[in-house]
Symmetry: C2
Subunit: 315 residues, 2 copies
């Protein structure tokens, strides 16, 4: 750890912790009330669906890393500890009532904590705390809008039955079409060659071995194969992209019904899929302003202000 610099910035008021607890990693950010980033941290899985204790440990671990970073940077934060921060915690499993209950009842080391879904913090982050809609195309896919206090979710049904237009969905289409091509049952596709190269294998059995009983993220890791083949004008790949893009186009139309002031596409597939969306939608897509963990801070600031108003002033 580097020694504290001689930065003596004075932080007035509360320090906020933003947590984005996902299935593979947990991200933390420490900010003051002016939204200055003081420190960041990353740890292991933070989705309580895969283990409540593991999630709690990951949250605390990432918070500690962010805290150490902040203290190493700002001398005036020397006294800062976990018990002095107000946490906003967005969790992929928070929509499951039992998970929400268990995480809400957690006696965390933080001064206060506000639990919500990964979708709300993503949306608050993308629009810097204002109303708006997000479409997410990462390992999974879904649409979400938060307008006038009202949440709307579209999709988010998981893999393989849902998550169309996501990395896992594109990857599965690529593997399926490649195997059909290899078996001479489906049309030829250059996705097969890209896939064999990507996986460093040379037959169907070895392709299958890479995916059998694996999580959806393994399929998402080969989604690029579809877009590589499309650049070579591969018709099978282009048909897959058309289907995935049409799903996102339709999702945008449904989100429009909730009258969001802004709409944003986020997630790892954003750069790949955007050029294939409806031209009109491409023009309308607003850039994401902040990542989900910053959205979690914005959520904590808002909830903290609301809760302060509810408590009568004792002075």
């Amino acid at each position: 750890m580097s020694k504290p610099t001689n930065d003596t910035t004075f932080f007035d008021g509360s320090i906020f912790l933003g947590i984005d607890g996902g299935g593979t990693k947990c991200k933390a950010v420490l900010m003051d009330h002016n939204q200055t980033i003081l420190g960041v941290g990353i740890s292991g899985p933070g989705n309580p669906v895969y283990g409540v204790e593991l999630a709690k440990n990951s949250i605390v671990e990432s918070a500690k890393i962010a805290l150490e970073q902040a203290k190493s940077k700002y001398l005036t934060l020397g006294d800062l500890h976990l018990g002095s921060v107000i946490a906003g915690i967005g969790l992929a499993g928070a929509n499951v009532p039992q998970m929400y209950k268990e995480m809400s009842e957690w006696k965390s080391p933080f001064k206060a904590k506000y639990i919500t879904t990964d979708l709300l913090i993503a949306c608050l982050g993308a629009h810097n705390g204002r109303d708006g809609a997000v479409m997410i195309s990462g390992t999974g896919s879904c649409g979400y809008s938060y307008v006038k206090g009202q949440s709307t979710i579209i999709g988010a049904h998981g893999f393989p039955q849902g998550d169309k237009g996501s990395g896992a969905w594109f990857g599965l289409q690529a593997v399926e079409a490649s195997l059909l091509s290899l078996d001479k049952i489906g049309p030829k596709t250059s996705m097969l060659n890209f896939l064999l190269e990507e996986l460093q294998v040379n037959n169907a059995e070895d392709i299958v071995a890479k995916f059998a009983s694996k999580p959806s993220s393994i399929f998402a890791s080969v989604a690029n194969v579809v877009f590589l083949a499309a650049q070579e004008d591969d018709q099978v790949a282009l048909a897959i992209i058309k289907e995935g893009a049409e799903y996102i186009n339709t999702m945008a139309r449904l989100l429009d019904d909730t009258t969001p002031p802004r709409i944003t596409l986020i997630g790892g597939l954003t750069a790949f899929i955007t050029p294939y969306l409806d031209a009109e939608l491409q023009l309308r897509l607003a850039p994401s302003l902040s990542p989900p963990e910053v959205g979690a801070v914005l959520y904590a600031i808002k909830q903290n202000a609301l809760s302060a108003r509810k408590i009568p002033n004792r002075c």
Copy 2:
């Protein structure tokens, strides 16, 4: 257990045990060399991929049940025990070299044992030990031919990346299309109503909960939804069936290249999908003559005869 009847049929020569070891159950049949069924037994999972010890236990258990049944029926089999039967064992995991090795090295309680794949015993059963081809559409799907000692496998890549035209594949298409319909992203389909009724749920979240992190057999259990909707002329269901049937039509054409004297469609989807296959293929499809466990007996009889020829007669 019922008392032995006074049947004093005399069994000349060896008694054979046929085993069909699948992922959910293990089937056993005891037969004499004239292919008279003496007894049958069913036990738990017999696919060594899901546990080698479990598979061995299931094989022995199903064999014991078949043996007891045979002894209760035929007085002359009173002395029969596991150590006096010659076993043909077809296993879903036998194509995996490590599984084949472990099962081959097993010091089984049988007099002799011959291990092979579930596909070969299914094919031998369907054609009563003669050359032929089978297309299987059960939980999974694949094509297989055994002609002049040569095995050919088509598909069999597993779920969700392969197994097109199988129960799991039809079930997944039904769930996917129903969720899209529910979200108003995909076209209306009566599969949604059949699915909600079948699962006794009324929203997307509860549909998803039935399938999340479940084996492919759970998807296969709702494959009927596609065929129910098709009977009502549901266009989404009919398009799914067309795609699945086309896969099987193409598989038949590829199997034809191996010049099988007979071709048979087996598995739980057979009755559902047959009416949608190419008319010419429907006419050509030969009925299955015996189940896979009987094919395992035929395999044991053949291998036993071959092995007897290799050992010099000591008399």
